[in-house]
């Protein structure tokens, strides 16, 4: 698996898009820091961008990589390599190269600004961790979609829908249901609804760490009240891990049964 990972990774970090993605974060990091002049505020702004953008890029890159390397995958399948190694290797290759663009792209401006001497370093670190988690989650979801759909257009469509649903529609539905059922106790419902969406989950995770109650929103507040900051933090981290393990497992299951 490590060999496949090495080659996928090597192939990807030389692709133009990895650099575009990297440069985007680099530029954004610098611009935010110079406009804001405040590390904590920059972290919050970044969070709002990352939790929407990272899932989008993860899904698109994942699905694009799978379809583009389809024939190559067939070549690998004829080599003496385990099936699971091929797909895990490719998946981790995509997810790690994307995470690297994110971590290095944002890391450079923040280090230049002097984050390593600031108290915000842990907030910033958590931001990078949850960004990487989101990359892992959405890339694996993209691989599941791609493996299930031979038709590229359909695959792309489902992937975009998935992103749209998780990043935009889900919150809308959530808010609407809160308004609709406002006469009922909604704590448990909103807790579960948050756990079921990795985008919301990482938002809550970061805001719990930043301890800004004003920005927590309804779910965040319920979360904090219910679990306390510490337990809530670890629970959301745990749920993010589940969100990454389950699709990866499903991906493996599909790959074992698929014909090429």
């Amino acid at each position: 698996m490590l060999k496949i990972l090495k080659y996928s990774f090597y192939d990807l970090i030389r692709s133009r898009w990895s650099y575009v993605y990297f440069l985007f974060y680099l530029l954004m990091g610098f611009v935010l820091l110079f406009l804001n002049n405040d590390l904590s505020k920059a972290v919050i702004t970044l969070m709002n961008i990352i939790i929407v953008l990272v899932p989008l890029i993860g899904t698109i890159f994942g699905i694009m990589y799978y379809y583009n390397s389809k024939e190559f995958t067939e070549l690998l399948l004829a080599q003496p390599i385990k099936r699971s190694s091929i797909f895990m290797g490719q998946y981790l290759g995509v997810a790690l190269s994307l995470s690297m663009s994110l971590v290095i792209g944002l890391g450079i401006p923040f280090f230049v600004y002097g984050i390593n001497t600031s108290v915000a370093i842990w907030d910033f670190g958590l931001l990078l961790v949850s960004g990487s988690m989101l990359t892992l989650i959405f890339t694996s979801l993209a691989f599941v979609i791609a493996l299930k759909n031979e038709n590229k257009i359909k695959g792309f469509g489902y992937a975009i829908l998935l992103w749209l649903f998780m990043a935009v529609i889900y919150d809308g539905l959530f808010l609407m249901s809160l308004m609709f059922f406002e006469d009922y106790p909604l704590d448990k419902f909103s807790l579960i609804a948050t756990l079921l969406n990795p985008v919301d989950l990482s938002r809550v995770l970061i805001l719990l760490k930043l301890d800004i109650s004003a920005l927590l929103g309804y779910t965040g507040a319920v979360f904090q009240q219910f679990f306390g900051t510490r337990l809530g933090f670890f629970l959301s981290l745990f749920m993010l891990t589940v969100w990454f393990i389950v699709p990866t497992f499903i991906m493996q299951r599909i790959a074992m049964k698929k014909d090429f």
Partner: protein
Amino acid sequence: MIEVKDIHKKFGQNKVLEGIDLTIDTKGIFAVLGPNGSGKTTLIKSILGMVIPDKGSIHLDGKAIQGEWNYRNNIDYLPQIANFPGNLSVQELINMIKDLRSNKNADDQRLIELFRLEPFLNKKLSNLSGGTKQKVNLVLTFMFDSQLIILDEPTTGLDPIAHIRLKQLINEEKAKGKTILITSHIMSFVEEISDQIVFILEGKIYFKGTIPELKSKTNESDFEHAIASILTASYA
């Protein structure tokens, strides 16, 4: 060597293989023929473990292949479509495939010279023409010394010189006592190189034997017409 027993496979509603029984235990060149969509590639991919049959079993050298992957060290396979990761150079791809096989002593230098690929070694694969990609594909297939070689449409996109070299190469491998499975739609090529014909029709093995046997069975003196007569009989 290869023992295929009662293989069934359908894709959706489309039944491709309906009980293929095939035993190949001699050396030589076997041409797998059949009309488009008859299941030639599906059969080959089943042997490679890329397609998982719905029913039946495949044994190579007496061992069942299902769920195994190590046995592919003993197969050289040329896929139908040559498409590689665009960001790698030819040399990197060759090194990579060598790296992935446990059998490291590859004969790539001779093949690179044979197909005149030296000028392309440092070029990225995305910049190569279809024929050059197929040559790279051939190098990747023939550089290992496995007992079983499977070629899926090996002549696609090759220029006449490369075509002649390919035939030489196949004959050399045959002289080493290997088993070679080939699919092709170019009948003159098949007639020239193959020892035995395996004809697949409607998901079953319709005929297995030598070319003279096929000719006498169909009462045709010409190989291409013999094949055509089977097809017209099946279309009618």
